[in-house]
């Protein structure tokens, strides 16, 4: 009974070829997050949705976009992937944006850029 599901587990794309990663949740949480985690580094928040309200981090490149068509699904679009975008992408959810709320993570999508 996975609660935050990310597909695919591994994604390979070519330099400059658009790619979309998907995330779904069965928790009915209001907030969904996308994190980028490069090898041996901390997860870095790219953006989050609070309900339908999109919140971008100041240092997230324009190359990264997101869509949340409904409560359950959230997509990460990389318009023109570069070699530096190869990383693990983690989706997470929380009930609210309160600072004390814990995050529920998916298993991640490992993106390779050739």
């Amino acid at each position: 009974d996975a609660m935050v599901i990310q597909n695919p587990r591994y994604q390979v794309t070519q330099f400059g070829k658009p790619v979309t990663l998907s995330c779904s949740q069965t928790l009915n949480h209001n907030v969904m997050y996308w994190y980028q985690q490069k090898s041996s580094q901390a997860p870095k928040l790219l953006f989050h949705y609070y309900d339908k309200d999109f919140n971008n981090e100041a240092d997230t490149p324009d190359n990264f976009q997101s869509r949340r068509p409904n409560t359950s699904f959230c997509f990460l679009d990389i318009r023109s992937p570069g070699l530096g975008d190869a990383a693990m992408y983690l989706c997470a959810t929380s009930r609210s944006r309160d600072s004390f709320e814990k995050l529920f993570f998916g298993s991640g999508t490992q993106l390779s850029v050739l």
Binding site: S40, L45, Y50, A92, L103, G108
Partner: protein, 116 residues
Amino acid sequence: AQSVTQLDSQVPVFEEAPVELRCNYSSSVSVYLFWYVQYPNQGLQLLLKYLSGSTLVKGINGFEAEFNKSQTSFHLRKPSVHISDTAEYFCAVSFVSSGSARQLTFGSGTQLTVLP
């Protein structure tokens, strides 16, 4: 500036030995503190959190952590580790602000390797 520092990137330890993973933070505002664990090829899972009250917090899998406000630390401990505890451990700090968006910052992680 607000930051989180995990002092050890790698901690090897023998099975059944005790372990401490260190975490320090810097903040000018109140904080909530978390430890997450990441097993190979998986997402992060919450081990424990400190919000208020007792400074000693117990979590899953026999782990505990102690909040030390004067030293701005939140070290993770386990008295006897198992092979299955081998994983990456992330300290995370939520800086409490009056804004609408939470600010959660992860440390760089500590790889715990339990040796037989």
